[in-house]
C-alpha cells in the first residue's frame, strides 16, 4: 500500500525550508464541530420579524425586447407589498470585476428594454410570505418581441450574426482586440517541417455546480442607516464593492456577514441577489430575503462555461511537439461576469506545461443567449487541460509512444522560454511523473528515470 500521507522529501531537497511542518499532517477542521451539532449559521438560519420575501418574475424567452411589463395583476394578490423594476435601481449597469478594470458594465441589475437569456430576472416582487411573492411573480404580465437568438459560439462570431450586446460585438474586447492572442515563433512554417500534423476539436458542456444550499441573502436595514447583508457568497468583497456602487452608498454603509457557504465551487462568486435585496430593504425599511429556489439554482445561476477548443499540433517522429495552434472559444452566455478573466486564464494556460517552440493561440470570450456562465473550480484552465491532455494522449497513440514518456519529453524545464515570453521556473512535471510511475508500478526506461526539471535543455532531444 503506497504511503500517501508523508511528503517525499527526496525531490528538490535543496529548495525545502526547514520550518514548514503543516503540509502532510492531519489538522481537524475548525468548523466541523459546529456542522455536526447544527450550530453553524448559514444565512437562512437567521430570521427577523417583519421580513419580506423577494421573488423574481423571469424571462421565458431567450432573446427578446420587453414590449410591456404589467405588474397590476401581481399587485392584486393579498400580501403583495411592492414591485421593483430597473427604475428603482440607482446605478443599474455593472460588471463584477469592474474594480480591476474590466469593462464595460454590461449587465443590468434589472433589464431596461430587453432580455438576453431565458430565466433572466425582470421584475422583483416583494411580499409578506414567500408563497405570496411567488404567486404574485407568476402573475406579472410580460409582452415580448422575440429577437433572433444565438446559441453557438462560432455562429455568434459569424459576420452576418446580429450583435446581442449593447457595445455592438458578440465578443469581449481585450484592449482593442477580438480575443486574447499568443504569437510565438512561426507555426505555419513548423507545420511544414513536422513529420505529422494532428488536429482535433474538443467541446465541453456547461456544468452546473448544484450546491446543496441555493444562492440567497437576507438584507436588514439597521437603525444607524447601515445595511447588514447575510449572504452565502464566496466573495464578500465582490458583493460589498458591487452592491455599494449599484445602490450608490458609501462602502462603509454596508456590512457583509458571510463566509459560510453551503457549497460554492465558484457558483457563489457572482453578485446577483444582494444589490436588489438591498434596494428592497432601502425602499421598504424592512428586512428582505431573496433566496433562489432549486429550479433557479439549476437553470438561472451561472454554470461553468462551455468551451470549444481546436488544437492543431506539428509533431516529430521522436515525440517532440514543435508547433501548437489553439483556437479556443469560451461561451460566456449573455453577460461577462467572470468569463473575460477566465478566457485570459485559458490563454495563459496554453499550450500546456510543455516546451513548444512555435505557439499560436486565439482565445475568444463569446456572448450567446445562453445562461451567463462564470466561475467554477479552475475555470479557464480545467477544460483547457481536458483538451490539451486528450490531445497529448492522441499524439501518443498515433506515435505508438508511452503517454507518460511523451509528456516527460516535452515538459517544461527550468529556464525554458514559454510562449508568453516568460522563463519557466519551479518546474516539477518531470519529477511528478517519475513519482507517479513509481507509485503505480510503471517501469520507466533509464533515460526517463534520469530526466530532471533542473537540467537545462538546449536543443530538444535530451537523452535521445
Amino acid at each position: 500500500m503506497q504511503d500517501l500521507e508523508t511528503i517525499d522529501t527526496r525531490f528538490f531537497s535543496a529548495e525545502r525550508e526547514a520550518d514548514l511542518d503543516v503540509v502532510g499532517t492531519t489538522v481537524p477542521r475548525v468548523d466541523a464541530r459546529a456542522h455536526v451539532t447544527g450550530k453553524t449559521q448559514f444565512y437562512e438560519d437567521v430570521s427577523f420579524p417583519g421580513m419580506l420575501h423577494l421573488k423574481m418574475a423571469r424571462s421565458t424567452r431567450h432573446h427578446a425586447l420587453l414590449k410591456k411589463v404589467d405588474t397590476r395583476p401581481a399587485e392584486k394578490v393579498p400580501g403583495f407589498v411592492r414591485a421593483l423594476t430597473h427604475k428603482d435601481v440607482p446605478n443599474n449597469w455593472y460588471t463584477i470585476l469592474r474594480l480591476i478594470g474590466v469593462e464595460p458594465n454590461d449587465e443590468p441589475v434589472l433589464p431596461e428594454d430587453r432580455v438576453l437569456f431565458q430565466g433572466e430576472q425582470i421584475v422583483a416582487i416583494l411580499a409578506e410570505t414567500a408563497e405570496v411573492a411567488g404567486e404574485a411573480a407568476s402573475k406579472v404580465k410580460i409582452e415580448y418581441k422575440d429577437l433572433p437568438a444565438v446559441f453557438d459560439v462560432e455562429e455568434a462570431l459569424k459576420p452576418g450574426t446580429p450583435a446581442i450586446k449593447p457595445h455592438g460585438k458578440n465578443y469581449f474586447v481585450y484592449e482593442g482586440h477580438h480575443c486574447r492572442r499568443i504569437r510565438f515563433g512561426d507555426v505555419d512554417q513548423a507545420f511544414k517541417e513536422a513529420d505529422h500534423v494532428i488536429e482535433h476539436r474538443y467541446q465541453s458542456a456547461p456544468i452546473e455546480h448544484a450546491p446543496t444550499e441555493t444562492t440567497g441573502c437576507i438584507v436588514k436595514p439597521e437603525g444607524n442607516g447601515r445595511f447588514t447583508i447575510y449572504s452565502n457568497t464566496q466573495a464578500c468583497y465582490f458583493t460589498l464593492d458591487n452592491a455599494a456602487l449599484i445602490v450608490g452608498l458609501p462602502f462603509n454603509k454596508l456590512r457583509v456577514i458571510g463566509g459560510t457557504v453551503g457549497g460554492g465551487f465558484g457558483g457563489k462568486v457572482d453578485v446577483t441577489v444582494e444589490p436588489i435585496a438591498i434596494i428592497a430593504a432601502m425602499l421598504t425599511q424592512r428586512p428582505v430575503k431573496y433566496a433562489y429556489s432549486r429550479e433557479e439554482e439549476m437553470q438561472v445561476s451561472s454554470p461553468r462555461a462551455a468551451e470549444r477548443i481546436y488544437i492543431k499540433d506539428g509533431v516529430m517522429k521522436d515525440g517532440r511537439i514543435i508547433a501548437r495552434k489553439v483556437t479556443l472559444y469560451v461561451d460566456a452566455g449573455a453577460y461577462s461576469r467572470h468569463s473575460p478573466y477566465g478566457t485570459t486564464k485559458a490563454a495563459a494556460h496554453m499550450p500546456g506545461p510543455y516546451s513548444i517552440p512555435n505557439v499560436w493561440v486565439d482565445a475568444h470570450c463569446v456572448y450567446t443567449n445562453r445562461t451567463p456562465s462564470s466561475a467554477m473550480r479552475g475555470f479557464g484552465v480545467t477544460i483547457g487541460d481536458f483538451a490539451l491532455e486528450s490531445q497529448m494522449d492522441r499524439i501518443a497513440r498515433m506515435l505508438k509512444m508511452d503517454p507518460i514518456e511523451l509528456r516527460m519529453l516535452n515538459a517544461y524545464r527550468d529556464g525554458d522560454m514559454k510562449a508568453h515570453r516568460k522563463k519557466a521556473e519551479g518546474c516539477a512535471l518531470v519529477e511528478v511523473m517519475q513519482k507517479a510511475a513509481e507509485m503505480t508500478g510503471r517501469k520507466l526506461p533509464e533515460r526517463f528515470k534520469k530526466m530532471s526539471s533542473l537540467k537545462p535543455v538546449g536543443s530538444k532531444g535530451e537523452g535521445i
Partner: protein, 269 residues
Amino acid sequence: MLRAIDVPQTTAEALTSLARARDALVIGGGTLVMPKVQAGASGLGALVSLAHCKLDKIAIKGDKVTIGAATTLAAIGEERGLAFLHSAIESVGSPTLRNLATIGGNLFTEQPYGDVAVCLLALDAEATVATRRGVKKVSVAEILKKGIGRDAIVTAVSFKKPEKGTWFYRKAMRRAANSASIVTIAALLPQSKTRVAKARIALGGCGEKPVLAAKAAAALEGQKLDADSVARAGALLIKDTAPFTDAYASAWYRARVLPVHFRRAILGE
C-alpha cells in the same frame, strides 16, 4: 395558495372534504404533491391527507394480495409475503423517500417515475375506487389510461401473487439508487410445460404513461424462454412505446437499450 389541509379519520370523511372544494387534491405521502405545491402556482386550494384513514393494511390470503392505498413503499418492502416485489420497491427513490411514498400515489405520478404502477399494470391489478356514491373495482390499466374522477379516491389495490419463476423486473437507472427510470420492465410470464402460457409485459420510461407491450407479449406466448425468443420479443417492444427525451436519457437511447434490458430482466444477463 393553500387554504386548508384536511386530515380526515375515515374514507367517508375524506370524500366529504374532497367534495367541498373544486381545487382540492388527495395526498398520500406527499412525495408528488408537495413538490408541486412548493414550486408555487399549483392551482391547488386544499389538500386531503389519507395518512389517518387507516388505508395502510397489507392483507395476503392465499395468493390474493390486497394493499391499502396509503401503505408506504417502505412497509411493502418489509412485508415478507411480498418478497417478489422487493427489487421493484428498492428501485424507487431512496429508503427515506419510501418512508413517505405510498403505493396509491404511485398510480398518479408522471413517467419516468412510477415504477410500482408499472408492476401493478403487469400484474393486472385492480384498484378499489371510492366515491360518495359507493365503491367499485377498476383495473389499474384503466386508471393509468383515464385517471379517476376528481371526487374519487383509490383506497386499495389488489392482485394475484405470481408463482415462483413467473415474475421478472428490471429498472435501468442513471445511478445505482435514487434515480428515475431510463426504462423499466415488469413482466408476468406464467409457464406451462416449459413454454410461456400467457405473457403480460409492462414498460415504464417509454412514454407518457406505463404501457403494455402487447406485440412483444404475443410473440412470447407458446415459446420457451430462451435467447432467441427473448430477442424476437425484445425487437417488438418498441412498437407499443413512444419513448421521450428528458434529462435522464434521450428517446433514441431509451429505444436502443430497451431490448437489452428486457433480455437482462428475463434471462438475467
